[in-house]
Amino acid sequence: MYQLRRFATRHARAYEMVYNASSPIILATLTVFNKLFGSKLDAPVTWFEKQVKGALFDCKMCGNCVLSSTGMTCPMNCPKTIRNGPCGGVRANGNCEVKPEMKCVWVDAWSGSQKMKHAQEIELIQFAPNHQHKGSSAWIRLAKEGGTNRATKSVSKAEV
């Protein structure tokens, strides 16, 4: 999983393209599902999201997905679950202060974001996640709220 997660960061541009292409389809499908079946399919959809994003990004199912704003690197893999990283403890080799064998999630995030078309999105302030959403599907919530795949809702303040 760690290797796949790091592969996603190295190929953030390609992942972004796939993500941007697939997200509207996924959201449209889920919107239709929601209209037809209500919440009956929430459990299998959540399971499916967990399998796909878990395999590709080591997704922790925080339910507040910001992958497209963090260089396709899931920030919940940071031991401090920092959403606006990195912290000041990164090792000289770019590895994590807490897990010395792991590359700092946010060093990867900044590097991944610079490969992406929407490179500046990492500069947006992401407020701490809503813990009520933990374990739930970010896709379903976006579909129900009619949102986009870009995490504009958690951006609390304008840039400098």
């Binding site: 990195p86 000041g88 060093v107 900044w110 590097s111 992401q126 701490a128």
Partner: protein, 333 residues
């Protein structure tokens, strides 16, 4: 004078809070001195492993006359000590200008917002938002790490409470906490090229002052400051460079190996090794760093970190001359 009065410095009206001033967010002396354009000096207290208030006052008194504000660390290195809120309340009571460090490691947003209100009620005018070291670094590695917020979310929280007079939930505050908000930055660890953009994020989130990690590598600091000035960040936030004294070459090696985020160039360690009196050389280096930081455009002050060497801070600051002869307020002056 009874024994208690001699141990506790007298309450003096020249301390905080000061009268409200236009364009100032707090009534604290730290913000006032910065906005007056002075080069400031701050240092930090290691809160005692004790329930004795006098230990706090004894530690603070070491900085009398040379420090504009005193940071009270919040379980630094994830080790348990007296709480930073309590240290700041004690210091505020006698007129000092403490900086309340809040680490996101130990408290969730409910506890933190309560602390910000409580601290402000007790006269604390400055808050520093930190993510905090992980619990694994300290003496209670079995503790549950909280990290509900991170430093930028914490800044947003403080600014929401202060500027919108409400909790994050939206519930109104009868009186907003008028605190000067700050955070930290470490210019010396990866991703070095993006650290200035993270600084930009912190300023956007509401940081009005920044205290950096130890600056022993001035070329890197100069580069970040040049970019900060170009981006206009130093017009929005006061940057204080972190400086420190190294007791010996071995201490320096231990620090950079064991304390996350500390970067000390090899040349500096060699200079210490070659010195006859390593401790004196470490202090000389610290004095030089203060003087050099003062010359860097955009730097508004220095933050002196001298863990277990606090008694040398006053002399080093005086030697450096960075205060330009300014007499800093202290109880009894």
């Amino acid at each position: 004078m009874n024994a208690q009065a001699s141990q506790h410095p007298p309450v003096d009206n020249l301390g905080s809070p000061l009268p409200e001033a236009v364009g100032h967010v707090s009534q604290g002396r730290f913000e006032r001195v910065l906005r007056q354009g002075h080069f400031v000096v701050t240092s930090e207290i290691a809160p005692p492993d004790s329930a004795d208030a006098d230990q706090v006052y004894e530690r603070a008194a070491l900085f009398d006359g040379v420090c504009d504000a005193i940071n009270a660390t919040d379980g630094s290195g994830a080790n348990c000590h007296m709480s930073s809120v309590a240290v700041c309340a004690l210091l505020s009571h006698v007129g000092y200008s403490p900086i309340l460090q809040i680490s996101c490691r130990d408290k969730n947003r409910i506890a933190i917002q309560g602390d910000v209100l409580g601290a402000a009620a007790m006269g604390v005018c400055n808050v520093l938002a930190l993510s905090g070291d992980d619990v694994s670094a300290g003496d209670h590695p079995e503790a549950k790490p909280v990290f509900d917020l991170d430093s930028i979310s914490l800044l947003t929280t403080i600014r929401t409470m202060r500027d919108e007079s409400r909790f994050l939930s939206g519930r109104k505050l009868d009186k907003a906490p008028k605190v000067f908000a700050g955070s930290t930055i470490n210019p010396f660890v990866p991703p070095i090229e993006n650290r200035v953009r993270q600084l930009q994020k912190k300023v956007a989130a509401g940081a009005e002052f920044i205290q950096t990690q130890y600056c022993f590598d001035l070329p890197v600091l100069r580069d970040m400051m040049r970019r900060s000035v170009d981006m206009g960040l130093t017009e929005k936030a006061f940057i204080l460079a972190g400086v420190g004294t190294l007791a010996s070459a071995n201490t320096a090696r231990w620090l950079r190996t064991n304390v996350p985020g500390v970067h000390i160039p090899d040349e500096l360690i060699q200079r210490l090794e070659g010195a006859e009196n390593q401790k004196a050389e470490g202090q000389k280096i610290c004095v030089e760093l203060m003087q050099q930081c003062k010359e860097i455009e955009g730097i508004s002050g220095v933050h002196v970190m001298a863990y277990r060497q606090e008694k040398y801070v006053a002399e080093m600051v005086r030697q450096s001359g960075v205060l330009d002869g300014r007499q800093v307020w202290a109880p009894g002056y």
